[in-house]
């Protein structure tokens, strides 16, 4: 029987898979993208779940997406537009039960004046903290779009790349070298304690250090996670975050349309059951419905575990199988999207405050954040979780009917498998209700404004999106799983032990977030092996 044949097949129409597909197609290959779901986007989707409301169902804000990719693939032509948001509010519950707000503003002096009410010292120290994080960004940013070197290799390319890394590092000078080494090993809490005294401000900043990571603010290594969320930029404004107009799905749609426009082909409802490998080389794949597709090479956008689960272990070195099994996913985040009949009020937030267009937080202290982690360790959802709440429809007019809004709620921590038993429907609903109740403590009219709720536990994220254990980064962002350790030492250059099988998902360097860098880097490596330049 004759099978369809492609030069390259990309598995998964998530943002990274589509980025890789775009680059390969534009380099002249015949490329097919296979997507298991009935829709494209992976975790970068905007699927309507309720009337005329559109949510960003999983990922919800954008900062890390590499502008060079947007430019190469002409994404503006296909409707991608990222609008930076300003603002942000940390709601503070005072001891007497009254509420206050620490606001974030577009203007540095408004920020400073608001902070000065809580701590004059912190108002100054916050600038120094941001400068030091910027210094770390300056160091790491150029590495995002580069393939990590293999530190044990003597290949000229690896040596050159190591030399590049070394030169950059030694170029920092003694003081910043020491700062950098400390930074990469510190906990977010210890790092922030060196600068700040006010707990509300600290917890506002520290929340970002726990996102998608089953670690607490006092766990060593979490300072890096802070950086991972600060190193993006929008048009050169480092650390800025924005909304994709029309929802995050607009990004995958633009990638998809750019791919199609350059002659690519996407098939949905086409899950891969296994890769066909002969004599150590990939030959194609068999789909869940039994169809076989031939391909000269395969690039998997799935996470590292799902990728290798689709390979007969007989074809893999035992240590690779072992490493893949041990790669840490540990899903710890949940997502809730809520349709709202108007903008909810929040205690302590004055009417008309511009701060609501940014991220809203209600965590009160570092201790509360750490306790939230303790709950997760015991296999429970956090009683007082870290919530990252945004109302994109305050900026984006395309997502809700006039006067209505939607809120994106990111929840850290929620267990992949509750200790008291699996995720039953009743338990899912109880979790959703718990989060709503928690928000209602800070928002008097939240419950009555709710029209619809979409709920995703880590288990749901795994089932629907295909991310193992629901880890939003396709694996935790800790030093042992970053750079040349990502996803496994020796295979950090987007290749695998199987000839012709590559990886392009967030399991590879530089990791998760709607960044596109793993996809672009993987495409570069594929084309290098083919002797082509993109």
């Amino acid at each position: 029987m004759k099978h369809d044949h492609y030069d390259a097949v990309v598995i998964g129409a998530g943002h990274n898979g589509l980025v890789t597909a775009c680059y390969l197609q534009r380099a002249g290959l015949k490329v097919l993208v296979l997507e298991r779901n009935s829709y494209i986007g992976g975790a970068t989707t905007s699927i309507s779940k309720y009337e005329d409301f559109t949510y960003s169902n999983c990922s919800y804000v954008c900062s890390l997406f590499r502008q060079e990719i947007a430019r190469d693939l002409e994404l503006y032509k296909f409707g991608m537009q990222v609008i930076p948001y300003n603002g942000g509010a940390q709601i503070i519950k005072n001891e007497d039960g009254s509420h206050d707000m620490l606001g974030a503003y577009w203007h540095a002096d408004a920020n400073r004046r608001d902070l000065e009410r809580l701590s004059k010292r912190d108002a100054n120290a916050y600038d120094r903290l941001n400068r030091d994080i910027m210094r770390q960004c300056e160091f790491i940013k150029p590495l995002l779009m580069r393939t990590p070197p293999d530190p044990t290799s003597f290949k000229p390319r690896d040596l050159m790349e190591l030399l590049y890394l070394g030169k950059r590092f030694y170029g920092l000078g003694k003081e910043r070298m020491l700062e950098t080494i400390r930074f990469y090993t510190m906990s977010a809490a210890d790092y922030l304690n060196e600068y700040l005294e006010n707990d509300a401000l600290k917890s506002y900043v520290a929340g970002g250090a726990t996102v998608g990571t089953a670690l607490g603010v006092y766990s060593p290594g979490t300072a890096y996670v802070l950086l991972h969320h600060a190193m993006g930029d929008i048009d050169g404004t480092v650390g800025a975050w924005g909304f994709a107009r029309g929802g995050m799905g607009a990004i995958s749609k633009a990638l998809n349309d750019s791919f199609i426009a350059s002659g690519g082909e996407v098939r949905v409802n086409a899950g891969v059951s296994k890769f066909i490998v002969e004599r150590g080389k990939v030959k194609g794949m068999q789909l869940e419905d039994g169809e076989v597709i031939d391909a000269d090479l395969v690039v998997s956008g799935m996470d590292v575990r799902r990728t290798f689960n689709a390979v007969d272990p007989n074809e893999l070195p035992a240590w690779v199988v072992e490493r893949v099994k041990n790669f840490r996913f540990r899903g710890s985040s949940a997502k809730i999207n809520i349709a709202l009949d108007g903008v909810p009020k929040f205690h302590g937030v004055p009417d008309g405050s511009p701060c609501l267009t940014g991220d809203i937080h209600i965590s009160q202290s570092m201790e509360e954040l750490e306790t939230a982690y303790d709950d997760w360790k015991a296999g429970r959802w956090s009683d007082k979780p870290y919530l990252d709440m945004l109302i994109p429809s305050l900026i984006d007019p395309t997502m809700t009917p006039e006067g209505k809004h939607w809120m994106s709620i990111f929840i850290q921590y929620c267990p992949y498998e509750p200790a008291e038993g699996g995720w039953t429907e009743a338990r899912r609903q109880a979790f959703g209700q718990h989060i709503v109740n928690r928000i209602a403590e800070f928002s008097p009219d939240f419950t009555e404004k709710m029209l619809h709720m979409e709920l995703r536990t880590p288990k749901d994220i795994e089932t629907e999106v295909g991310l193992t254990e629901g880890n939003i980064f396709q694996g935790e962002l800790t030093m042992d799983q970053l750079i040349f350790n990502r996803p496994i030492p020796g295979y950090a250059q987007y290749r695998s032990p199987i000839k012709g099988l590559y990886m392009c998902g967030s399991s590879t360097h530089p990791g998760g977030g709607v960044m596109g860098a793993p996809g672009a880097n993987a495409a570069r490596e594929v084309l290098l092996d083919l002797g082509r330049r993109n």
């Binding site: 503003y105 809580l118 010292r121 910027m134 707990d199 202290s365």
Partner: protein, 404 residues
């Protein structure tokens, strides 16, 4: 651990920028809406005509609102010890009621800022600067018996500068103000409140700075301007001040250097030596922050230094790169601030030059881009190292000043 208590009712910050205490008094003089922001306050780049405002300081009296200056009160038994640790010069030599210009560094000997230190008594100092740095002052005072308070919002200041400034102040009733020597301060009564007057300024001319409680701002301003009106007193904006300070050869943070607290890129930090502030560094006074690093640096030659230069012709050399030859083969420096000086009729600038060019005597060319009628023209002009200050009239130093 501090708790999140706050008694203030949360204000809605509608406008990030505040008005200074004097703003309501001089608002009616603003003619061209040439606003700018300074440290979170509304400031004026010019009120009407920057040339006129500049000449007020060289000819009559120009007044500049310095409320946005950052002011820290540093008091306590260890205040002198702490100040001596903070800044590079020896403040133990300062008598009470004196002011000095000072620079302070981090432990690497990189400049945090320059500013003025006011000494009110044996145990009371005020640090006056342009950038906020409370956390640094607090951190570096650990182990010292001092209290540090940011009084920026409580103290209002006016710079009263120019040849007739002393006469106007005398007319206001500040008897004896003429006896203030440069960098001396004294407290004078006015309408039942205290006015601290220091003979200081940023213009290189005769001038004073008046410091009061913000609540007396409108009274002081009215008194000053009714006394000064017959003498040509004029409010001025930062454009005029920029001209004046360049003529005076004075450096400005964020123009000549960036605070090491704000630099992100490498090689943007500066030592006092690179800024030509060797005379402010006193290695004999004992320990101070950055001493060890600066000692090490002082053993080595400088690779670059901030100097004054004088450029041929009359085209202001903003942002010019400086080369070793007319064909621009090797860049040896760059201009940080430039001015066609109306009083000197000279084309002056502050510039960084590499060694050995900063010692002078070598051929140098400035590459100046001129935007003339919507076309860019590139010009090469010869330039040379010049003495700073470029302009320094005798009245700046005389006590009592010539009453003219």
């Amino acid at each position: 651990m501090k708790t999140n208590t706050n008694n203030n009712q949360r204000p809605l910050i509608e406008r990030p920028i505040q008005e200074t205490a004097f703003y309501p008094s001089y608002k009616h003089l603003i003619q061209n809406d040439n606003y700018e922001e300074w440290s979170g306050y509304t400031a004026l780049a010019s009120f009407a005509c920057e040339g006129q405002e500049y000449f007020a300081v060289r000819n009559t009296c120009g007044v500049y609102d310095i409320c946005p200056m950052i002011k820290y009160d540093i008091s306590g038994p260890d205040a002198e010890r702490f100040m001596n640790r903070l800044v590079t010069r020896d403040v133990s030599k300062m008598l009470p009621e004196r002011v000095v210009y000072a620079v302070w560094c981090n432990d690497n000997g990189h400049v945090i800022e320059d500013g003025t230190v006011f000494r009110y008594s044996a145990t009371d100092f005020r640090l006056c600067c342009a950038e906020r740095q409370l956390e640094w002052l607090e951190d570096s005072s650990i182990g010292y018996d001092v209290s540090i308070a940011d009084v920026t919002e409580e103290i209002a200041g006016l710079a009263v500068q120019g040849p007739v400034s002393c006469r106007i102040l005398k007319k206001m009733g500040f008897t004896g103000v003429e006896n203030l020597k440069p960098f001396q301060l004294a407290t004078f009564p006015l309408h039942g409140y205290d006015v601290v007057i220091s003979r200081t300024g940023f213009t290189g001319d005769l001038g004073y700075e008046l410091w009061i409680d913000v609540k007396n701002a409108s009274d002081l301003w009215e008194s000053l301007f009714s006394a000064g009106k017959p003498h040509g007193i004029l409010m001025m904006g930062s454009e005029a001040l920029e001209m004046l300070r360049i003529e005076a050869g004075l450096m400005l943070v964020n123009a000549e250097f960036m605070s090491c607290f704000q630099t992100v890129r490498l090689n943007r930090d500066r030592t006092p030596f690179e800024l030509g502030l060797d005379w402010l560094v006193d290695f004999n006074k004992g320990h101070f922050i950055g001493r060890r690093a600066l000692l090490k640096v002082s053993m080595k030659g400088l690779s670059r230094k901030l100097v004054g230069i004088d450029i041929d012709w009359n085209k202001q050399a903003d942002g010019a790169l400086i080369y070793d030859s007319k064909d621009a083969s090797k860049q040896i420096g760059e201009v940080t601030s430039a001015l066609w000086s109306p009083i000197l009729k000279q084309n002056i600038a502050l510039a960084y030059l590499d060694a050995p060019y900063f010692d002078g005597g070598k051929e140098m060319w400035a590459e100046v881009y001129l935007h003339r009628e919507c076309m860019w023209e590139r010009k090469m002009y010869k330039c040379r190292v010049a003495q700073r200050p470029f302009y320094s009239p005798d009245r700046r130093r005389l006590t009592p000043p010539n009453d003219m």
